[in-house]
């Protein structure tokens, strides 16, 4: 029993390390400009105010940033899944010439961070005439996670018992039909997890958006938040409020999807 107390204390300490900085941000977002510079600092603002939130939601483009991020991240995540699922399935089930080189190439490409490719990706999107469009961003994002997603999904498909395919073949089901009606329902948690993982990656992506977008009305949330930091002065309490507005839906979604997300992602990525 005494050991259990220690465990609870250790868990609480771990949680505090990750939560307190965020709570400080919340505290800051409820302060007035003068309150930010109070000494000693207060965790609970003396004159808490929602003025920063009202300003961010009605007088800035924060609502547009949220909308843009939602559109871009979900479109890109959908596109990634749409191309990765058939490819991963084929690489898992079929044996054909060129399969191993393809897998190796995917693994190699997976290691390349998009930051490395900023300059050539910029000129590619430029030549496609898609600079400063959501379509350009979606195109690049969609490709970004394809190699990783194919690998993860391939692991899920590998884990599906062989007998299921035998049964489907005996029934005379086509490859597409087998995938759609039999295999996908089995790996649904994995698919969901990959999709959530990709959504998170696209939601947070900053540097491609920074380079590929110009118009503020098309900015995604990270870019919008970055533009809050002014050259001359930053109103930290306002930035904190905008950050919190951006944070709440994401953190809420993750708290909600956590189990599903963790179970799914790791089942694929960790070969037991």
């Amino acid at each position: 029993m005494r050991r259990r107390v220690w465990f609870v204390a250790a868990l609480a300490a771990a949680a505090a390390v990750f939560l307190l900085p965020q709570l400080w941000l919340l505290s800051l977002s409820l302060k007035s400009k003068a309150g930010v510079y109070e000494y000693p600092p207060r965790w609970i603002p003396e004159h808490a105010t929602l003025a920063n939130y009202v300003f961010a939601l009605t007088r800035t483009q924060v609502p547009w940033y949220l909308w843009n991020s939602a559109i871009v991240a979900s479109a890109a995540a959908a596109a990634t899944m749409a191309v990765a699922v058939p490819a991963a399935y084929t690489l898992s089930r079929e044996r054909f010439a060129g399969r191993r080189p393809l897998l190796a190439a995917l693994l190699a490409v997976q290691m390349i961070s998009p930051v490395v490719l900023l300059v050539p990706i910029y000129s590619l999107v430029e030549r496609l005439g898609l600079i400063d469009t959501r379509a350009g961003l979606v195109l690049v994002y969609a490709a970004m996670q394809v190699p990783f997603t194919v690998w993860v999904l391939k692991n899920f498909f590998d884990a599906v018992p062989r007998s299921i395919f035998e049964a489907a073949r005996l029934d005379g089901a086509s490859r597409a039909r087998t995938l759609w009606t039999i295999v996908l329902p089995i790996v649904a948690p994995g698919l969901g997890a990959s999709a959530v993982f990709n959504l998170a990656a696209y939601w947070s992506e900053f540097c491609l958006a920074l380079v590929l977008l110009d118009s503020q009305e098309r900015f995604t949330m990270p870019l919008g938040l970055f533009s809050f930091q002014s050259a001359y002065e930053t109103d930290w309490q306002l930035l904190a409020a905008a950050s919190f507005i951006a944070l709440v839906p994401v953190v809420a979604a993750f708290v909600f999807l956590q189990r599903f997300f963790i179970a799914g992602l790791t089942a694929g990525a960790v070969k037991g």
Binding site: L118, R175, S230
Partner: protein, 751 residues
């Protein structure tokens, strides 16, 4: 009136994305400076602009605006240059005055629609600087500023006029009061140079000659610059200033220190007066005063005047006319007065100082107005940005004590001369015509997938549609750019898409750049530190939660959610969050607790070593969740019987870890290692807001180095060369990782 109110309610003329009537036939795109539109992130400014734009929109029913606020300084500049290269410039933009030469080919003259008598109302330097050699006026200055010494009257009875006086009084106050005697900007940004140029100009120094050739490293100019650098070094040696000045890359840090009572003097801008006024009680504010910038020799004076300029890029005459009408309306005396009152910047119209009581009767504005008389603007020459970059590095290196003033200046001078030679010779040999080599990467990228499909065409043709979309997407968006990167690195392209020639000069420039090797060390420390800590802590957390769960301790889910919540935060936000936590004056929460523990305040962002540690800590804080999730899942797969057997044998926790958990988790650990190494190499979004790569590039990891070259300096080829190095390291890692993973997968079968 009533009708107007109803109209307004039904159809607001000023919304966050549109100004004007939605059905207006002409749409002008406007790229505004951050604090200069209704979208300013500062309510007082936003309010004034909302009302000014509303006035304009009411009077111009057939024009609507799409306003975008551009990111801070350097990025705004780079965006404009990229847009210029691609012909995507907005109709109207607000630019920093010294960028004009970079956009000279695209800026449209305003003469036709801007009457001469109105121009006469502007301060002479604003017109002179913006007039081209043929006498056309290229921009409308919209506000200016000047640099001054802020000081506490209660601590410093008479403001220092010379550097010697400043050093004496600042070191005395610092010693007696245990506060910073004198603060200034020495981080990696434009203000670090610009704020100090006054001290150079006051000695008669000139950065460039009339032809735009750099001169600051020659003769008397060199001596003046060396004196300035030696003075900056002395501020540290004499104890007048703390090393934390190296972390100042935002004027807010100076204001914050002043408000917190941590500074007796600082070199700042006139607009900061307003922030002192709002941040301090009336009694505390009364202790502050301003004085001219101290200089090397008595009796000299100078101040840097900057400011922003409206320029018009619209080539179509009707749009150009509408654009000029818009900026004239915003800058009309009544509007300009209200705007300057809100921004705290200085008006550039003489009539505003004369006719509006807030300026004519205000003692501060009168004094700023007097200082503007000795104002000196930065030269509008193409080499200035390079000079500024190099002097930022020189100041950083001297203040940190890494280099002597001579060494730092010589390095800056030779780098600027190289750049100048390149600029002048490059202009002479522009490549024209089609570039067939540019097709090579596209052909090469297509070869591999085509090869695969060619081989499968007979036997497995049915598989092609299953694989093709993924293969095509990856080939076009990832593989082709990868190969194109190699091609780009072998050119001397400056702006992506610009003209160029094939050469190996970018690699030569890279390997002869000492900053390149410094960056490699920084990157190695950052990646190794991040990976080691993240893996250890992630493992510890996973083990803790797993062990607690097996003992049915409450709170495991809550702890897990807490850790993951840090990971879902976008990287930019993590950077901002940690910057707020690590603020170095007394408004920083981490330093507050360090002080309570007797350890602080510590220069967590401004000391080179601590800044790198801070960046690693922030990165680990964010990344731990990822390691934890994977390892926790791995732990779930450790068979229960093994744990039970270990319990029975009563093995120690260490033995259990070493002989049970690590072997069981080896494949997961390796996968983790690979993934977080990639992530750490990728790290960029977190560092940009946190340190910006400073102090003096000591947190500039490879991605930042490469990004800065490509999108701040617009050195596409050099950036590509650095990226090729990054690519090579990544591919090598991929190879090692692939081997390890293959072996890891094989092991359980052998067991």
């Amino acid at each position: 009136m009533v009708v107007g109110a109803v109209d307004a309610a039904e159809q607001a003329l000023v919304t966050p994305v549109r100004v004007g009537r939605p059905d207006a036939p002409t749409t002008l795109s406007v790229w505004a400076q951050q604090d200069y539109s209704h979208l300013a992130a500062r309510p007082a400014i936003a309010d004034v602009f909302a009302s000014v734009f509303d006035d304009w929109a009411g009077a111009h029913p057939d024009v609507q605006l799409r306003v975008s606020v551009m990111p801070a300084l350097e990025l705004h500049k780079a965006k404009l240059q990229l847009a210029a290269a691609a012909g995507r410039l907005p109709d109207v933009a607000s630019i920093d005055s010294f960028w004009l030469p970079l956009l000279a080919g695209d800026v449209q003259p305003l003469d036709d629609d801007w009457p001469l008598d109105d121009r006469r109302d502007f301060l002479p330097f604003t017109i002179d600087t913006l007039t081209d050699p043929t006498g056309r006026i290229l921009g409308m200055w919209h506000e200016t500023d000047c640099r001054v010494l802020f000081y506490r009257r209660d601590l410093i009875p008479a403001p220092p006029r010379t550097w010697d006086e400043l050093l004496d009084v600042a070191s005395r106050v610092a010693r007696e009061r245990r506060m910073a005697g004198y603060l200034y900007n020495a981080g990696r940004w434009e203000a670090t140079v610009f704020d100090h140029l006054a001290m150079f100009w006051a000695q008669g120094g000139e950065l460039v000659d009339r032809a735009g050739r750099p001169t600051f490293g020659e003769g008397a100019n060199r001596r003046a610059m060396l004196r300035l650098l030696a003075f900056l070094r002395a501020t540290i040696d004499r104890g007048a200033s703390p090393r934390s000045v190296l972390g100042h890359n935002d004027y807010q840090q100076l204001t914050g220190a002043a408000i917190a009572g941590d500074a007796a003097m600082f070199l700042g801008g006139n607009w900061q007066l307003k922030d002192l006024q709002t941040g301090l009680s009336a009694a505390d504010f009364a202790r502050w005063d301003i004085a001219p910038i101290p200089t090397a020799d008595p009796g000299t004076t100078s101040t840097g005047t900057g400011g922003w300029v409206w320029v018009v890029f619209a080539r179509d005459p009707a749009r150009r006319k509408a654009a000029i009408e818009f900026i004239r309306d915003v800058e009309s005396p009544a509007h300009a007065a209200r705007i300057s009152e809100a921004t705290g910047h200085l008006p550039v119209r003489r009539s505003v100082y004369r006719d509006f009581p807030i300026f004519s009767e205000d003692v501060w504005y009168r004094r700023f107005g007097e200082m503007l008389a000795s104002g000196h603007a930065r030269p509008t020459v193409p080499i200035y940005p390079a000079i500024s970059q190099q002097l930022q590095l020189a100041i950083g290196a001297v203040v940190s004590g890494e280099r002597s003033p001579e060494e730092a200046l010589d390095a800056a001078w030779s780098a600027v001369l190289d750049e100048y030679t390149r600029q002048t010779t490059k202009a002479a040999r522009m490549r024209t015509g089609a570039d067939h080599v540019a097709w090579l990467p596209a052909v090469a990228a297509a070869l591999f997938p085509l090869g695969v499909f060619w081989r499968t065409r007979r036997t497995d043709a049915a598989l092609t549609p299953w694989l093709l979309p993924a293969a095509a997407l990856v080939t076009v968006v990832l593989v082709y750019p990868m190969l194109d990167l190699v091609r780009l690195s072998l050119t001397d392209a400056t702006v992506a898409g610009g003209s160029y020639a094939y050469t190996a000069s970018s690699y030569r420039a890279l390997v002869s750049d000492p900053a390149f090797y410094a960056m490699i060390v920084v990157t190695a420390i950052f990646v190794a530190g991040s990976v080691a800590l993240q893996l250890t802590i992630g493992f510890a957390l996973a083990w803790l939660i797993d062990a607690a769960r097996r003992r049915r301790a409450p709170g495991t889910l809550a702890a897990r959610v807490a850790v993951v919540s840090a990971w879902v935060i976008p990287g930019v936000l993590t950077g901002v969050l940690w910057k707020i936590l690590l603020i170095e004056n007394r408004s920083g929460i981490v330093n507050y607790y360090l002080s309570l523990a007797g350890l602080g305040p510590a220069p967590l962002i401004s000391s080179p070593v601590l800044a790198l540690m801070s960046v690693v800590v922030a990165n680990v804080w964010r990344g731990c969740a990822f390691s934890m999730i994977l390892l926790y899942a791995g732990l779930q797969r450790v068979p229960r019987e093994l744990h039970e057997a270990a319990d029975l044998e009563g093995v120690s926790a260490w033995q259990r870890l070493r002989w049970l958990l690590v072997p069981q988790l080896a494949p997961v650990l390796l996968l983790n290692l690979v993934l977080i190494t990639i992530a750490s190499f990728n790290t960029f979004d977190l560092i940009i807001p946190l340190t910006g790569g400073g102090p003096a590039r000591r947190t500039e990891v490879i991605s930042l180095f490469m990004y800065r070259l490509g999108f701040y300096d617009l050195e596409a080829a050099r950036s590509a060369a650095a990226a090729v190095v990054m690519l090579a390291i990544n591919l090598l890692l991929a190879l090692i990782a692939g081997r390890l993973m293959a072996r890891g997968a094989a092991e359980p079968q052998r067991a």
